[in-house]
Symmetry: C2
Subunit: 144 residues, 2 copies
Amino acid sequence: MKVSTKGRYALRIMLDLAMHNSGDLVPLKDIAKRQGITLKYMEQIISPLSKAGFVQSLRGSAGGYRLARNPSEYTVGSILRVLEGPLAPTACLETDVNECPRVDSCPTISFWNGLNKVINEYVDSVTLEDLVNEETAIQSDYVI
Amino acid sequence: MKVSTKGRYALRIMLDLAMHNSGDLVPLKDIAKRQGITLKYMEQIISPLSKAGFVQSLRGSAGGYRLARNPSEYTVGSILRVLEGPLAPTACLETDVNECPRVDSCPTISFWNGLNKVINEYVDSVTLEDLVNEETAIQSDYVI
DNA sequence: ATACAATCATATAAAATCACTAGGAAAGTA
DNA sequence: TACTTTCCTAGTGATTTTATATGATTGTAT
């Protein structure tokens, strides 16, 4: 029941971009340095995010990445799903085509459905903006 | 974010025992036949449940397993945890000793804490009895 | 006492997943 | 042209998953 590093790192990358959301492009190298993740591994993580249209990119010197939308328009769930696939707790909930031969008489399916629901409702109730606001609130504690 | 077969099978075994909860001992062979799981694999799954005191066992001819308590006294979460360990979505939430060096400044920890909470609250809100009642309700549909 | 039935323990292993590392190609900027 | 940065693909060691297999131990019934 663990979220893999890819999902967790994807969230950290997107949150880093959200906290440096000036409109300028942010080189991945800078994010890697801040987050303590190797550049090469981060490239693998941001690639699907780029293909999914979650970030905009530009190559070359002064290139980098930036968010494609407003931080409030990303739920954490949507980010995790790009790297993790469906967040369903069992494989039988993932597709419309139920491959499990026991599905019609399965006494546990309603339980798994319920778990699937609470997980997805929660991860989609939190946005990048929520996390940014929380973080800046924490930082201001030090100032005060 | 998947529950492993051990956790899922453990739930099916416990539910099978709950639906054959006459007080008599149920041979594992019978459960294996009903559930379509090999006896040898089931032995590995029920062993931790036995050690955790979730089921009572008796060896020998006419031996088998039965629930140690009333079905209403088992939450699904408690069963899953025996086989899966903590159901936390990240390792940093598992122990009291936080090993992650970033924990004090981690902007995502509150999100993971929240996810951890909704998952565990849900799995502990459903009992074996709930699943049994649901199943017998479904079966009675056929009768009616 | 003996045979039988079941739990209990341990070893092995294929397959999949995880968490990276590495090399280089392509594209854009100064 | 030199440099920087993204983009693409492949490989790799470690761990986990999902079992299978063999046999020992224990208890019940006849």
